[in-house]
Symmetry: C2
Subunit: 206 residues, 2 copies
């Protein structure tokens, strides 16, 4: 059976669970869009995705096909099976209302990845302070030898995707990014679908 | 009055509080040693130092004199007043017992920054899962254009120091690093002292 395609509308988010070995595919349907992803151990939300542990164990700033995303307890949460674009960011925290004040000099309301993650993770009991630095799929953060960072439009083209396999049961938060700099000022949706691991294909019948 | 010099013995840690505007000086007394530092809002430990927010707002991987360390709530926690060595890391999570298994192929007991931070922060009610990626003072993590990371011995010389001013009341965790790669295999102490902000100089008499 073909897995159901899920649509995250522009400047919004989603949360869902995965079983160990399930495969998540995140698609940039129109190109140049970013999706912030956070992960929690589905059985204990105190275990969560850690940029610091992932960069340390993978010995690389740029995680792509073949790399793993690690937890704050030094366990693998996801393995990256495919990555047709090949550029993601794991340095910058999700954009928040304060991001738009401090970095964009924008006052007033503005949708944000942190707000959208929180909205969808709150029903699971996740507080806003508990949301860690996200794995920013398709995000194009460039650095030079002096460490200077610049956020450029993504290099992803329409249809580019990343496939990640869960290494434990997971709660996932995912967005279609709300920040102008991250997606070149174009707000677009993100698509995703889940391939259920063979050992779980009958679970909905149970 | 000259402030009291505090000594963190090799492969150990400390925790203490600062009032807003207090100045913390962290010294590498012998050279080539690393000190992992984590920060919490003294009035609400859910607010803590955030690598993702700091790198985003400072737009740089390499934070030194003139930069700020930011919290997960997008507020300044510390401002770096001086930095005689000038190389620190804010990418890698504190070394943990698993670090030595995974990165060093070392089995059995090994002191770690995460363990030492937890030991000293636990009396304040901080759990091990609540300890974020630290600001790694004097740590020399090099990166190339492909993002490849390598941990080299620090460039700090005996007597090098960093001075940081608290931007809010803080709980601080600080270590003398336990990881061979971080300090070139030499385990050494870290020294620190606190200059009390003028408006608080009489607080001990109250």
């Amino acid at each position: 059976m073909k897995p159901l395609l899920n649509i995250i509308e522009k400047q919004s988010g989603a949360a869902f669970t995965l079983k160990k070995n399930d495969i998540l595919t995140v698609i940039d349907p129109m190109g140049k869009q970013v999706s912030d992803m956070v992960l929690f151990n589905a059985d204990d939300y105190k275990e969560k995705i850690s940029s610091g542990k992932s960069l340390d164990f993978e010995e690389n700033l740029l995680l792509t096909k073949g790399h793993n995303l690690w937890s704050n307890r030094s366990r693998k949460m996801m393995h990256i099976l495919e990555d047709t674009n090949g550029r993601n960011d794991f340095l910058l925290a999700p954009c928040s209302p304060e991001t738009f004040k401090i970095m964009y000099n924008h006052n007033g309301e503005h949708p944000s990845c942190l707000g959208n993650l929180h909205q969808h993770l709150q029903p699971y009991g996740i507080g806003i302070d508990d949301i860690p630095t996200a794995f920013n799929i398709f995000m194009n953060v460039q650095f030079n030898n002096d460490g200077k960072l610049s956020v450029l439009p993504p290099t992803s083209k329409a249809g580019d995707y990343i496939r990640l396999q869960a290494q434990m049961d997971l709660l996932v938060g995912l967005t279609a990014c709300s920040a102008e700099d991250s997606n070149g000022g174009t707000f677009k949706p993100i698509h995703y679908y889940i391939e259920t691991a063979p050992e779980y294909t009958n679970r909905k019948l149970l």
